[in-house]
């Protein structure tokens, strides 16, 4: 642990020196090569506001150096963005670039170029995003990092990187994006390592002494993922169609032989629409998740197929104050079969999970201060998740922020209610260079 801290400090000094020399005078090696070095140093701490028998009181304690090295050439753009960090809470300390544990979380390492006039290609590690939801995702089946999201890391960490080839075609009639991931990239899911949760199969809470060890499909070009989006503008509206073939992104299945959690096969298709309505912005999205390994919905160890819907509306309600409202639905397709398949005593989820979200964003003090409030509320699950946050830019370089992750619910097994014991507050200090 001490060694890792030392390595980190050395790296910090090195990067600071490098960036100072890169910006200090013209004609340094980096300048001549057209290489840009930027990034930030981020210190962050958080704690639970109540006892959790399964986890530490400290929910977050880390120092993180992000270095973003890029070169924009005429032929290609190169980018390597890596986080070097010391994380005091993590149990898993072995270096794993896939999970972002250990000392390094490689966020991006890719090359972007245009092999033809109407084609762009990005190859390598990259962050992938699409869809119209705000902190709700239907057709965006790229990996998420729920753990980072719930403990108070910056919102950018909700997106976990993919190792993929992303090809965009721009024929005259529309735009087509294809993402191919040769080896499945799972979510950085809630394993119990830092957040305790309700294990519906086991019927109990789990935490850091009983972490989920999932069996992840890991065959190159065999356990692969493909996603496609076709989109275009129709009379001021953005219309998109989506498709995905891969796996459930979090380990929602159980292998009854090994009793390990698994990622069953999934394919999905959907559509979205976004555009102005009145003085605001309307978003609609729908998706059908087809759980290939259990089409009838009878297998209790494989999640059922689902229909997911989302409707959102955003508008400025006062100067520098924006509100966004969303309604989201998860409808289980074969609910009867699901209920029949449950074991005695196992808590059933509802056929329809309804979620409402509200986001309020207020900019103040010449936009140097952001006050943000995001709330998820499920009337069907009777649970809620609140994300209050404030950040203030002290100078162009220094930023302070503080916030909370508040979970509330009636029952142990509901989506947000299960995290009740993880309610936490956090604060951070960041220097960008």
């Amino acid at each position: 642990m001490q060694l890792r801290a030392l390595v980190l400090i050395v790296l910090c000094v090195l990067m600071a020196a490098l960036s100072a020399s890169a910006r200090g005078q013209d004609g340094t090696v980096l300048d001549r090569l057209g290489i840009d070095v930027h990034g930030f140093l981020d210190m962050r701490g958080g704690m639970r506001t109540q006892d959790d028998a399964y986890e530490r009181d400290t929910s977050l304690g880390e120092i993180r150096l992000q270095t973003d090295i890029s070169r924009m050439g005429d032929v290609a753009a190169l980018q390597v963005r890596a986080d070097f960090f010391y994380d005091d809470v993590a149990e898993e300390t072995d270096l794993d670039l896939e999970d972002g544990t250990g000392l390094v979380d490689l966020r991006e390492a890719n090359v972007l170029f245009s092999p033809f006039r109407i084609v762009d290609m990005k190859i390598g590690r990259q962050i992938l995003t699409w869809g119209t939801g705000d902190l709700l995702f239907i057709n965006d089946l790229f990996p998420k990092d729920w753990q980072s999201f719930f403990i108070g890391r910056d919102e950018e960490y909700l997106k976990a990187p993919s190792d993929a080839v992303f090809v965009s075609f721009f024929p005259a009639f529309s735009n087509i994006d294809v993402a191919y991931t040769p080896r499945f990239d799972a979510d950085r899911y809630i394993s119990g390592e830092r957040l305790s949760f309700w294990d519906s199969m086991g019927g109990s809470r789990r935490g850091c002494d009983n972490i989920v060890h999932a069996h992840k499909p890991d065959g190159w070009f065999e356990d692969d993922e493909a996603a496609i989006r076709v989109y275009g503008h129709v009379i001021g509206y953005e219309l998109a169609l989506y498709g995905y073939n891969g796996f459930w992104k979090s380990p929602k299945g159980i292998d009854t032989q090994t009793e390990k959690a698994t990622f069953p096969k999934l394919w999905a298709y959907g559509a979205s629409l976004q555009g102005p309505l009145g003085s605001g912005l309307l978003s609609l999205e729908a998706g059908h998740y087809v759980s290939d390994e259990d089409e009838s919905g009878k297998d209790p160890y494989v999640p059922n197929s689902e229909l997911r819907l989302l409707a959102g509306y955003e508008r400025e309600i006062a100067r520098n104050l924006t509100a966004k409202f969303q309604y989201y639905l998860e409808h289980m397709q074969d609910y009867g079969h699901y209920k029949a398949s449950l074991e005695a005593g196992q808590k059933a989820r509802d056929e329809d999970r309804h979620v409402l979200t509200l986001r309020l964003t207020k900019l103040a003090l010449n936009q140097t201060m952001t006050l943000s409030f995001f709330a998820y509320f499920s009337p069907s699950d009777e649970d809620a998740y609140l994300r209050p946050m404030m950040k203030y830019k002290v100078t162009d370089n220094w930023l302070v922020m503080a916030g909370g992750n508040v979970f509330a619910g009636h029952e142990d097994h509901t989506f947000f209610g299960q995290f009740e014991k993880n309610t936490n507050v956090y604060a951070a200090l960041r220097y960008s260079f």
Partner: protein
Amino acid sequence: MSNKIQAFLVSALWLCIGAVVFAQEPGVDAIIKKANDASYYAGRDGRADVKMSIVDKKGSTRVREFSILRLNVQGNDQKFYVYFKAPADVRKMAYLVWKNAGKDDDRWLWLPALNLVKRIAPGDKRTSFVGSDFLYEDVSGRGIEEDDHVLVKTTDSEYVIKSTPKDGQSVEFSHYSIWIDKTTFLPLKAEYYDKNGKLYRRVEAKKVETIQGYPTVIEAVASDLKAGSITKNVFSNIEYDIGMKERIFTERFLRRPPREVTR
């Protein structure tokens, strides 16, 4: 007969003089139209690098650096692409605007860390542009039909025009005065009065240069007289008519910034 010719010549002469006088003193709407064209529509397209320094009352300074591309499309519609270079936390962010004259603009923001193209809800155009004393409307232009304009004074070098909003509820000012240069038609100063008739805001063109035949503001200052803050914009590497393609102003080039902004 000769009298008739004389009368004709005299009246023709008067007509000519009238026409000359009329040409020298265009109507107020024509002046405003020309000023709007000179400020926001020069050339078919244009680019500039902008260094924006925001100095607050206490003297602390914040700096934003960005490149801006503009393309005139049909009618008064335009497309803008803004690519941020500083400060570090907004570096590589890009902002795309399709300005729809007389309607809400379509706007998108590119957030590189999330790889996200985020469509932005239509907003009040009289809010600060990136936290500066310039307003969104100062950057993209205010519809000339939104105000009633009165020519108050004509000096040797300037027209002074008072503009009063047709819909007083939609804006924070009661009226504003603009000083427009008679030869270039560039507005050199605008002063805004609040609902109590008190001067509270000033925007000035401090330096003007002619670039490729287009008179161009290369230094502009906006002052918030109430808050005591001042923002200075310095424009450099200005170019017009570079043959910008409309396809630059699409999601593709948010994801992959065009050469026009990165070089």
